[in-house]
């Protein structure tokens, strides 16, 4: 784009300085005078009735200020779509780690000591840790009262099935009859944690008038406020949530973490209470990415044309539904993939099991569903003896194509990403033995929801932007949005200060989630800048005695269009002063909510995500080496070609892509919350293996820019999708290196070696 001064360039983010000097304050750093430390007593059993709880010894520990059990807290049940979760377990527990009691004490040690003195009498119940078993008729019910639970959307549910969604178009049976080949596969994806370095933390205080103040490193302060208001039967205006720096979130800091517990303990003790989760709590009782089973079948003609697909994804939601019903919907979009397929029957199923409540982790449902989809795409290509890149080339969405539910796609850069990624990885070039290359494609939505901002011109000519969004680490606010504002108001980025994430002091925002911040807050800022410019031009017109239509903003001043003379200009500082002296301060306001595209609702059954708004498009490619002796997979190099629409801050867009790929590699190769019988076997960072600096390959990033018509300067979602196609690209490369197809993540050395040996054995038997 021509004539742009600030956007499209890499400028330092405004929060980098406090972060490199140690001055940035995160949730974990909070403290307050007289503060107590809160801890949670959690269930040691995956499924058990609570017969009695004895807290008398815990209460007697010196320094303990309060011990709370279910009968001490509101009897309300909470949830996103289904109100199924109590604040503290009342009659029974449904997963290991479920909160049963709360303790506040003067020191963390005293709280720990009291924790160990709580005594609960249990009656153990059968454990459901397999979603397929949970779906069988006669299975033990995780929620015996499922029929009586309050719901907040039209859902299909029955017993342990807590969400069912379908996307169906065309006649799949007919398509399969007309196909030359129908390929059927089954894949499994595993449970992983978001791995943010700052544990979830909150500090709560009850104000003298009884209102609640909570400081938290949440991604979505307005939702935390709303939930606290609901749990404690307060008007929302009597709850204030103030955000700190967020030490990584990746979706895990969207739901309530410990804010409600800190609030309860603050209420019971009359003192501020701080809570912080341990690594063991994070890995057993947080909101990880759920496990999945995908059955998928595609019909294809010999010329490579996909004619139909049937697929079913079963999501292991854990003990409470949370976002499960929504994920059951979203997964169908991922099973369709960014491909033209006339007949689809795609089902998503969310199932209760005796595990922690699974949640949102960076592009929720996509990495595991796309592992299945894109592994399957390679198998389909193989079945018709076609090159995997050529097969995708013949089926991918092109500009102007229509998505399954009838909405027209615009800004489709998928073809360009495919060609550029294939070229960069050297697709088709010969390789030595045990080396292989893999490719995988994906698409992802820009999140919707409402954003409002207030823009104030300060007396020194600088600008203050108030937004209820939160900087969660990406730079979307502290770089991207700041640059958009600087561009629109003709100032420098350092002339902009931010006030963010305070439910009393900043206007509503749907939060730092769903790769929506630059898009939604950016569009709100463009509107606020229009509003402010209009006011500035009107005032300057009066002062300079020039018609506003002849004026423009430039370099922090309003000037007469086309005139160089400084005398005919009013600086922002002078205008701010003039506005104040007249009692009309210069304040711009802007709001944005992305419009829904036109779609055909008849395609869907109880579906909560009927379109992918302003989608981004992706091709990943990698080269791996497999050790035939050990099965170990080494990723030698990695290529991402991502259609970002328009890169507002190219350096930080690259940073999102590099970080997303490395999270994807963790999911693909090494990370797993290992569970047996409802117990987590590796609740520590020694055995939960996130990639270190020694584990990452060189990553080539190629930015492709097919502007999103609604995006600010054409920008579309960036941050979540780089983690989506990674496991599939690696699995496909492993196939080409070793001739074995691993159908379950993570792609460990054990699984690869087992597959290599099985192949050798079957070759011998032939």
């Amino acid at each position: 784009m021509n004539g742009l001064r600030v956007v499209g360039k890499s400028v330092p983010r405004s929060d980098a300085l406090p972060k490199v000097t140690g001055q940035a304050i995160y949730g974990a750093d909070l403290s307050a005078p007289g503060m107590l430390h809160g801890k949670v007593y959690r269930s040691p059993h995956p499924h058990a009735r609570i017969l009695s709880i004895d807290t008398s010894r815990a209460r007697a520990v010196p320094g303990v200020g309060a011990v709370l059990v279910a009968s001490d807290v509101p009897a309300i049940r909470n949830g996103v779509y289904i109100d199924d979760e109590p604040i503290l377990a009342r009659d029974k527990v449904r997963y290991v780690g479920e909160p049963v009691a709360l303790i506040a004490a003067t020191t963390p040690d005293a709280a720990d000591e009291a924790l160990h003195l709580i005594s609960v009498e249990w009656a153990l119940l059968p454990v459901l840790d397999d979603p397929e078993a949970a779906l069988r008729p006669g299975a033990v019910l995780i929620h015996e009262d499922w029929e009586h639970l309050t719901t907040h959307a039209e859902l299909t549910r029955r017993e342990n099935l807590c969400g069912y969604s379908r996307l169906a178009t065309g006649d799949v049976d007919e398509a399969f009859r007309a196909a030359d080949v129908v390929v059927r596969d089954r894949f499994r994806g595993h449970m992983v944690h978001q791995g943010y370095m700052e544990p979830r933390a909150a500090l709560a205080r009850i104000e003298p008038n009884g209102s609640i103040t909570v400081w938290s490193s949440t991604q979505w302060p307005f939702d935390i406020r709303d939930q606290l208001a609901k749990l404690f039967s307060r008007p929302k205006e009597q709850v204030r949530v103030i955000t700190t720096c967020v030490g990584g979130g990746f979706g895990g800091k969207i739901p309530l973490g410990v804010e409600h517990f800190a609030t309860l303990l603050a209420g019971a003790t009359g003192r501020p209470v701080k809570m912080i989760t341990s690594t063991a709590e994070e890995l057993t009782a947080s909101y990880p990415r759920q496990g999945i089973t995908v059955e998928i079948a595609s019909g294809v003609r010999k010329d490579g044309t996909l004619v139909g697909r049937r697929a079913r994804a079963v999501l292991d939601t854990g003990a409470y539904a949370g976002y499960g019903p929504y994920f059951a919907s979203n997964v169908t979009n991922q099973l369709a993939g960014p491909y033209r397929i006339p007949a689809l029957w795609l089902e998503g199923v969310a199932v209760y099991t005796n595990k922690t409540n699974c949640g949102a982790y960076r592009a929720p449902t996509a990495p595991k569903a796309v592992f299945a989809l894109e592994s399957h795409m390679d198998r389909v290509a193989q079945a018709i003896d076609m090159d995997p890149v050529e097969f995708r080339r013949r089926n991918i969405y092109q500009e102007g194509d229509v998505a399954p539910s009838g909405w027209k796609l615009e800004g489709v850069g998928l073809g360009e990403t495919l060609e550029k990624a294939a070229r960069a990885i050297g697709w088709g070039e010969p390789l030595p033995p045990w080396r292989g290359k893999g490719v995988a494609c994906a698409w992802w939505a820009t999140g919707g929801g409402s954003s409002s901002v207030v823009l104030t011109l300060n007396r020194n000519g600088t600008l203050s932007l108030a937004s209820g969004n939160v900087e969660m680490g990406t730079g979307a606010l502290t770089a991207g949005v700041v640059q958009i504002l600087a561009e629109e108001m003709a100032v420098e980025p350092e002339d902009v200060s931010l006030i963010t994430g305070d439910t009393d002091a900043t206007p509503y925002d749907f939060g730092a989630q769903a790769s929506r911040t630059v898009f939604s807050v950016g569009n709100a800022v463009i509107r606020a800048a229009e509003d402010l410019r209009r006011q500035l031009l009107a005032l300057a017109g009066e002062l300079l005695d020039v018609k506003p239509g002849r004026l423009e903003v430039s370099s922090g001043a309003v000037r007469v269009r086309g005139e160089a003379a400084a005398a005919r200009a009013a600086s922002y500082a002078a205008l701010a002063e003039a506005g104040l002296s007249r009692g009309t301060p210069l304040i711009g306001r802007g709001s944005y909510i992305a419009p829904a595209p036109d779609y055909d609702p008849s395609v869907f059954t109880t579906h909560l995500k009927p379109y992918l708004a302003s989608p981004s498009f992706h091709t990943h490619a990698c080269e791996v080496e497999v050790d035939p002796e050990t099965g170990e997979v080494r990723v030698l190099r990695y290529v991402v070609a991502q259609d970002v629409g328009f890169a507002i801050t190219p350096q930080y867009v690259e940073g999102q892509i590099e970080g997303g790929v490395v999270q994807g590699l963790g999911f693909a190769l090494s990370e797993e919350i290992v569970m047996r019988g409802g117990h987590v076997l590796n609740p520590n960072l020694t055995d939960y293996k996130m990639p270190t600096i020694l584990d990452v390959p060189p990553i080539t990033t190629i930015l492709v820019e097919h502007p999103a018509p609604l995006g600010p300067y054409g920008a579309k979602n960036v941050a979540e999708p780089p983690c989506i196609p990674v496991a599939a690209a690696v699995a496909n490369a492993v196939y080409h290196a070793a001739g074995v197809r691993v159908t379950e993540t993570p792609i460990t050395a054990e699984r690869v070696l087992r597959a290599i040996r099985a192949r050798a054995t079957s070759a011998l038997e032939r």
């Binding site: 490199v20 000097t21 140690g22 001055q23 370095m197 680490g473 020694t686």
Partner: protein, 163 residues
């Protein structure tokens, strides 16, 4: 256990604190001295966010007893910028886009400082070895390596104002 007085030398300043001998350096830095730039997470020396320098070496302060480092020079992230000038590593991390959520960054910068103070021109492999104990979940590490390399090349030896 009764508390004992110890003298800590933190960022060149002598600090007297009365501590339980079982308390960690991390705990004392953060809660007794208010130096929350040193971060806490796993508390078992796996993540590296609590890294500080003791005698110029990078240590995980979550597994070091405060009393055991009495009198020895300790450097935390708060001690790096001097006389309104950022340390070259701080400048380079900003310039190279190596900072996202920032929670690992104090530890990462101190681990890099320990390396460069001993080995001013390290290889890429040596940089990776030195930072292998510091997890970063945001960046994918590439821009961190680039930032350390740029400092090793002397690109940030000049001015680096705090404002």
């Amino acid at each position: 256990m009764s508390r004992i007085p110890i003298g800590l030398d933190v960022n060149g300043v002598g600090r007297e604190v009365l501590v339980d001998p079982s308390r960690t350096l991390l705990d004392v830095l953060r809660w007794d001295l208010g130096l929350t730039g040193t971060k806490e997470n796993c508390l078992e020396a796996e993540c590296g966010v609590c890294t500080v320098l003791v005698d110029g070496r990078a240590v995980n302060s979550c597994i070091v007893l405060a009393a055991s480092v009495a009198g020895r020079p300790i450097v935390t992230i708060e001690g790096l910028a001097r006389d309104d000038r950022l340390h070259p590593l701080q400048q380079a991390f900003i310039k190279h886009g190596a900072v996202q959520c920032g929670y690992c960054i104090p530890g990462m910068i101190l681990a890099a400082k320990a390396l460069l103070d001993r080995t001013p021109s390290p290889t890429v492999d040596a940089i990776k070895d030195a930072l292998a104990g510091n997890l970063c979940r945001c960046t994918g590490y590439h821009k961190i390596v680039q930032a350390v390399q740029a400092v090793a090349r002397g690109e940030f030896d000049g001015e680096g104002g705090l404002s």
